[in-house]
């Protein structure tokens, strides 16, 4: 077998109309939630219908999607960078029937424009070894409750939500409008009977962001300074004998105000809103309620075109905590290495 053949050439996957208008699109219009049209310099119009996906797809489900694409799109479709399905329709007449079929098959259509799009997320308990929470579960539970915002366009701007099940943040949570992050809260207990055989001591020591781990290269063991450990789990990533998961204390934190686009404001990191919510499968009610609350306060307070972070920057974090009713705690105050950059070095602030 030949190796290193690389992925299939994308050009072979493009619908003919795209091939003709490649790089020569003139403008687009959003026609209704989940439906937009791109018009090329040739005058040709390509319709896109965007549908939600659970991302974790069975082969049969994929085949069903293929069936639909074959029926309406000559067998062409794409997925978006947020894991939505995009049906690419060359024939305007097929748009309405497609929408009808999607409705019948219960595919949510939306996610375009000033909406909530699909939640970028990770593996969780389905496949990963370091998660502090599940991924697909909280996502499903949440989308169920904020579904309305996916299929309409009534928010001030789009709201990008992401979930990562541990601090590795396999996804966009560090720069999302709203981010859900699994966190551990227990100091790992090194199993020094296994460490000598399983772990590289220098690597384990170097893995700790706060320098909490001391290694003994002679005995090939390590010890953790509990006071310096903030449960990031990176030591576990490199050393299996440092278990960190703890059903009683693992949970979820909520982050807000990040973005990556350069539109108006510069890309921003998400900031801590809620330090801890319990893992409460299968419906994670605390997490769902917390996120919904933030979305709704945003929806009714932000100005048009303002992303969550832009709104908060304008009104101030004092106001954000006040409006959302989220308590501010000492955990919100940075104490990692560039903390002083976040301190209020000014008398400019609001009373609430």
């Amino acid at each position: 077998m030949p190796t290193d053949i690389g992925p299939p050439d994308f050009k072979t996957m493009l619908p003919p109309m795209i091939q003709r208008n490649y790089g020569k699109w003139r403008y687009h219009e959003i026609l209704e939630p989940g439906l937009m049209v791109h018009v090329g310099e040739t005058g040709e119009a390509l319709y896109t219908v965007r549908a939600g996906s659970p991302r974790l797809l069975s082969t049969d489900h994929i085949r069903e999607i293929c069936d639909i694409a074959e029926k309406y799109c000559n067998g062409y479709l794409r997925f978006t960078s947020r894991n939505n399905i995009e049906f690419l329709i060359e024939d305007k007449a097929k748009v309405a029937p497609l929408l009808a079929e999607l409705k019948a098959k219960k595919y949510p259509v939306g996610g375009i424009g000033h909406a909530i799009s699909n939640i970028v997320h990770t593996q969780g308990w389905v496949h990963c070894h370091t998660p502090a929470t599940d991924a697909s579960g909280p996502v499903k539970a949440l989308m169920e409750e904020i579904y309305e915002y996916f299929v309409t366009m009534k928010l001030p701007n789009h709201v990008r939500i992401a979930l990562a099940c541990c601090l590795n943040m396999c996804g966009a949570v560090h720069c999302s409008d709203i981010a859900i992050l699994g966190i551990h809260r227990t100091v790992p207990k090194p199993d020094n009977t296994r460490i000598p055989n399983l772990c590289e001591i220098p690597t384990t020591v170097a893995s700790c962001p706060t320098g909490a781990i001391r290694g003994d290269s002679k005995t090939k063991t390590v010890s953790v300074n509990n006071d310096k450990c903030m449960y990031c789990g990176n030591c576990y990533t490199v050393c299996p004998a440092m278990p960190i998961a703890d059903a009683d204390n693992d949970g979820i934190s909520i982050w807000v105000g990040g973005k990556v686009s350069n539109a108006r404001s510069k890309p921003m990191f998400s900031k801590l809103a809620i330090p801890y919510l319990p893992n409460n499968p299968p419906l994670w009610p605390e997490t769902v309620a917390a996120v919904k609350n933030i979305i709704e306060v945003y929806a009714s307070n932000a100005r048009k075109h303002e992303r969550v972070g832009e709104w908060i920057e304008r009104v101030g974090w004092e106001r954000f905590f006040n409006l959302t009713g989220i308590p501010f705690t000492d955990k919100h105050i940075d104490d990692f290495d560039m903390a002083t950059e976040t301190f209020r070095s000014s008398t400019q602030f609001k009373w609430r």
Binding site: M1, T3, D4, I5, G6, P7, P8, D9, F10, T12, M13, W25, Y27, H28, E29, P54, L56, L57, S58, T59, I62, I65, C66, G75, Y76, R78, F79, T80, S81, N83, P108, T122, W125, H127, C128, H129, D134, A141, E144, F150, L167, M169, A172, H174, C175, T203, A206, S207, P240, A245, V260, S261, N262, A263, R264, F269, N279, P281, P282, D337
Partner: protein, 397 residues
């Protein structure tokens, strides 16, 4: 009615939003692996804890990566997921598919794996979720036969990805798809045989809207931009105004540099002050478009928090023309990766390395000039290093 084995997960089935549980159950009908996965997940839901063992190193011949090894920690209960490895398959750039290709993938995966996938993983790969060690090589061979190859994992170049760009977007300033595909094909060895200090990710967005989150999620972000004035179609401006867009409030007032003036009839842009944020163009695609001279801004260092805290990529080349065969770009990438590979500690991302040794060292090593575009502002601390040639050396008497 029989009591369900998965009472907790069942609560997540159905509903308005498509349910991953439904997909898992669908697969479970034919696949014991999927069934045991459901079972183990139910256990996790009950116990609020994961049930996968740490790590796993498995793979296919000739490759150092592309497969994530995984073993259950309770194989006695769920023997069919005792081994449950994931293949990362490189997606067609832009995530465009003919259904035929997808059907091929499904067939291969039904043959060799759990019948469960992720479309797509966060890095962009097609994730084939769960198979056993003995199926890996065959699955790989069958994928190859259908024209697919593995993506990156480990200390390697990771599967590059790109926004839809010229494929379906009027704002594309560069050919994000072709650039990404070209890079992918040029660096097959670097993707498949890990020999870097740590992972390296490249993402290509064809304009500053950055629809692949390249600035946050890739070590090297390639983002389209332009030089020259934003062309204005005043007729279309008027049309947007007529259609109800409040141009002063929604466009001009939100321009970050406040370089637009609208007098109720005509829109004027002081382009020398424009920082190409896209906002005005986003709001009036028929009236405005990126300026005439197109190219890319290159940014380096983006990553998630571990170890030193998250980084957003920062500018290292304000403007580079990007045309096939992308020689200038690829020369620079190789210089960067060479220097990084020679200089970094193990598990040190390029952003962390530059943070540690300083931009001046990096710039010198890869031969880039220092430019004010690289910084928000110059340094505030007076801890300035001078190069030996800056200093008058004492005469040796």
């Amino acid at each position: 009615m029989a009591k369900s084995d998965t009472p907790l997960l069942d609560q997540l089935g159905g509903g308005k939003w498509p349910s991953f549980i439904d997909d898992m159950k669908q697969a479970a009908k034919k696949k014991p692996m999927a069934k045991d996965l459901l079972g183990q997940l139910e256990l996790s839901y009950k116990e609020k804890i994961g049930h996968w063992k740490h790590g796993g190193i498995v793979g296919v011949k000739g490759y150092g990566g592309g497969v994530i090894g995984r073993y259950s920690d309770c194989p006695e209960k769920f023997p069919n997921v005792q081994a449950f490895h994931t293949l990362r398959v490189n997606h067609p750039t832009g995530w465009f598919y003919k259904t035929e290709a997808l059907r091929n993938l499904c067939d291969v995966w039904d043959k060799h794996g759990s019948g469960l996938t992720n479309l797509h993983g966060s890095t962009g790969d097609i994730i084939l979720l769960g198979t056993t060690t003995d199926h890996l090589q065959e699955c790989f061979d069958d994928l190859s036969a259908k024209g697919f190859d593995l993506g990156g994992s480990g200390s390697a170049l990771r599967t590059p990805s790109a926004c839809v760009g010229p494929g379906r977007c009027e704002w594309a300033c560069i050919d994000s798809l072709d650039t990404c595909y070209n890079i992918t094909m040029s660096y097959q060895d670097e993707i498949h045989r890990p020999m870097f200090p740590y992972k390296f990710k490249i993402k290509v967005a064809a304009c500053p809207n950055d629809c692949v989150a390249s600035i946050a999620r890739s070590d090297l972000a390639i983002i389209g931009t332009w030089k020259g004035d934003i062309p204005i179609d005043q007729k279309e401006v008027a049309a947007y105004a007529a259609a109800g867009l409040d141009i002063q409030k929604e466009v001009c007032n939100l321009c970050p540099t406040r370089c637009m003036v609208y007098n109720g009839r005509e829109l004027k842009i002081y382009d020398e002050d424009c920082t190409r944020c896209m906002h005005c163009i986003n709001l009036m695609p028929k009236a405005l478009r990126p300026g005439p001279e197109k190219g890319a801004t290159l940014l380096i260092g983006g990553k998630a928090p571990i170890v030193e805290g998250a980084l957003l990529s920062w500018v290292i080349v304000p403007f580079m023309k990007l045309e096939p065969p992308y020689t200038e770009l690829k020369d620079l990438i190789m210089k960067i990766i060479d220097w990084w590979s020679e200089t970094a500690r193990s598990r040190e991302r390029i952003g962390e390395l530059i943070k540690r040794v300083g931009m001046r060292t990096f710039l010198r090593a890869v031969g880039l000039p220092a430019l004010p575009q690289m910084v928000k502002s110059p340094r505030t601390n007076p801890y300035v290093f001078f190069w030996p040639e800056d200093i008058k050396q004492k005469e040796v008497k």
